[in-house]
């Protein structure tokens, strides 16, 4: 924690090596979030570099931000949505009120040996069948390990809705595992 504070102070002073470390720390989580919304590698890369560029431009205030991961994910979410809107501009009939789909990242089988490859495949397939918002919330809860309150703030939904989506995902997966 002390290290992170020091790193942020260095970044605030314009230290690019420290910023490089900062990117290492948060990059993957932010990338899979953007990829989930955009379902396109190049677009996601563009958005994520925009997110970190935004962080660099705001480097002086970084040490004061309390929930950094949530802050980065909020920017990633908003930039991804506006990217989608821009892409769809030529087709004005489509309103991107709600994200039409969310691509959940493919997960590797954990090394603890408790679930096998077959079960892993089945879980990934089961997640695919969940509604987009549910996958989106579940991604932020599971991979980014964000507190539900922060997820609610990022997606501008209620805390109860976040709880509902996570428990839906959990019970679907549990049922699949029980019947396997």
């Amino acid at each position: 924690m002390e290290d992170l504070t020091r790193e942020l102070l260095l970044i605030a002073k314009g230290n690019e090596l420290a910023f490089n470390e900062f990117m290492n720390r948060y990059m993957e989580g932010i990338y899979y979030h953007a990829y989930g919304i955009l379902s396109n590698k190049e677009m996601a890369e563009e958005v994520v570099s925009d997110v970190f560029f935004e962080a660099w431009r705001n480097r002086k205030m970084l040490p004061e931000i309390k929930a950094l991961k949530a802050w980065l994910n909020t920017i990633a979410y908003r930039k991804s949505i506006s990217y989608l809107r821009k892409e769809k501009k030529h087709d004005k009939n489509i309103a991107v009120e709600e994200i039409a789909s969310f691509t959940f990242p493919e997960t590797e089988t954990p090394i603890d040996g408790i679930i096998n490859k077959e079960e892993m495949k089945m879980l990934n397939a089961a997640i695919d069948t969940l509604p987009p918002k549910c996958k989106h919330v579940f991604y932020l809860a599971k991979f980014e390990q964000l507190p539900y309150l922060e997820i609610a703030e990022i997606l501008e939904i209620s805390l109860a809705t976040v709880n509902y989506h996570v428990s839906t995902a959990m019970s679907v997966l549990k049922k699949k595992l029980a019947h396997a």
């Binding site: 490089n20 993957e28 890369e45 892993m120 539900y148 959990m170 549990k174």
Partner: protein, 308 residues
Amino acid sequence: MEKDIINHQYDSTPEDLKLKSFVENSKTKHMDITTIKQKTFMKIREEQRRQKQHRLFKIAAIAAGLLLVVGVGLHFMMRTDSISAVQYADAEDTNTEVMQSVNVPVGETMTILLADGSKIIANSRTELLYPKSFKGETREVVVKGEAYFDIAHDESHPFIVKTNDFTVKVLGTQFNVSNYDHAASNVVLVQGAVELSTSNKDVVRMKPSDKVDISNGSFTSKSQVDPNDYISWTEGVIHLHGETIQSIVQRLNHHYGVQIVCDDHGDTPLYGKLVLQPSVYDVLHTINDMAHFKMVKKDQVIHLVSNL
């Protein structure tokens, strides 16, 4: 209601054990993040370039204003202050080096990676001139302010740091140059060997941990120091081992481009660590906690006076 997924209550059934393993231990596939990092740094460079152009434009505007008012005076100014006039080599000619210039904003530091793999960290308010790529027999950069150099070894192309008052010639090494004030400049060698020559033709060979002081283009003294004390600014701190408030105030004046005058207690020694925060006032408050004085601001000058 749950607060987060980490505190989820699992049953002890086999399916719940598996679910727990999935939620807590399955990771996403590792990805190559270098492309995104490169993209980000390109955006950062692009912005720095734009800001520099903006700054040059402002300087040009001020210069144009001066030209109207002072006329001939400008010619004299440009001649005496050779570093502030940025010179661009002709980009068409592939044999000349295209020079780049950097002005570090107040309170910030900037890391510059050179074409030969050398690294320079420039301190607050430092002006640095360096070529985009090295083409001649020697690798030359110009510095005014303070910078830490970590130079890639290349015996056939000596690296030369130029200032108004002295030059440092190296083959590959780490050292710090401070010349904010040409009456009190210094060079501290961390590793390797360098040769320093002043504009008044003094030549000094330096060993690791040597500190050489230069005043108005003349060598004044050489001493052994702990190099870490002289490069800790690259990490945003100053280590204090009994330096007087007077001498620290001097460093802060250079770093933040302010004018602080110590009216009382100038020789009080300070111990500990000073974090170079974005605002000089925060730093002064820290010193205040150690030394108890009062800050009085008068016509852009900050006076430190006795609290008693």
